[in-house]
Symmetry: C2
Subunit: 160 residues, 2 copies
Amino acid sequence: MKPARSRAVNTSSVNISTINMGTVNIGDAAKASGVSAKMIRHYESIGLIPSAGRTESGYRTYAESDLHRLRFVKRARTLGFSIKEIEALLALWGDRRRSSAKVKALTQKHIDELEGKIAEMQAMKQALQQLAHQCHGDDRPDCPILDDLAAEPNRAPRCH
Amino acid sequence: MKPARSRAVNTSSVNISTINMGTVNIGDAAKASGVSAKMIRHYESIGLIPSAGRTESGYRTYAESDLHRLRFVKRARTLGFSIKEIEALLALWGDRRRSSAKVKALTQKHIDELEGKIAEMQAMKQALQQLAHQCHGDDRPDCPILDDLAAEPNRAPRCH
DNA sequence: ATGAACCTTCCCATGATGGCAAAGTCAACC
DNA sequence: GGTTGACTTTGCCATCATGGGAAGGTTCAT
């Protein structure tokens, strides 16, 4: 594709062809939202965000409302929500008749999942610390850590 | 392939062709180790475990030492070690001249990684609980959770 | 006009696991 | 001997969120 020129305007210069005031390219959208350009394209491809506008030469353009949505997604990812969950959150965000109960329930479910994972990892950490504590950590080959890994599951008590 | 018969023996019947006493098929190895047949094949394909023996008809066979190694891998996965790390642990396990210091260091590094992830998830959980607490969770559309997600990063204080 | 710094699409990789399909094998039973 | 069911084999595709890179087009400033 190589049609006429018409660039996303972020300066004060006016463009006649389209009223793309204040729209930016994907790189600036990435900087402004904290979502990488790569991921913005990805989110668009899986339908998490609507297809971006395009300049006549094919460059994606982002308006302030698009940046707002991207920031929303970024923040939700930072809080650990999955893409599926964010999809639901975005729908609720855009729904003026939503009930906050739905949002809260979704959030609580996510909190529960986090708690499950945290507990799991803490159990791992606990067991490992126990083992590391028992290990001399010197030049000798004796190693309770390897002994534990190599232990028959039945015989040796794995209950730390 | 369809050569002569010769099966992995797990009963008391004797097989003349090869001395495969006590060797089992992949399904039994899976049951005995807790590693799925699928993953056993996968571990073999990426070189984590040596290629299993084969019957004349191509079935993989596992001796007690193989099961031992599989149990080692399973236990290490349960403790959250990555495949790369388990590779190193297996090497140390098989090295009589090893120093326990290396094992301990590897373990400590893993503990540190776990701690990092746990802290990260706890921060998420904390923030989410804060927000969920502020949310009515009723039929009204007012929702501090969505408000937070939609907030401009600069203005609203994200410091919970 | 040239070059830097963008942008586009497309393909591949990660890590650990699961699923499915088509085909071959084994043991047991009638 | 034939059938049946429970195994096994390989291979390809999917997940989830992200990054890397190639090959080529665009924009803009020097």
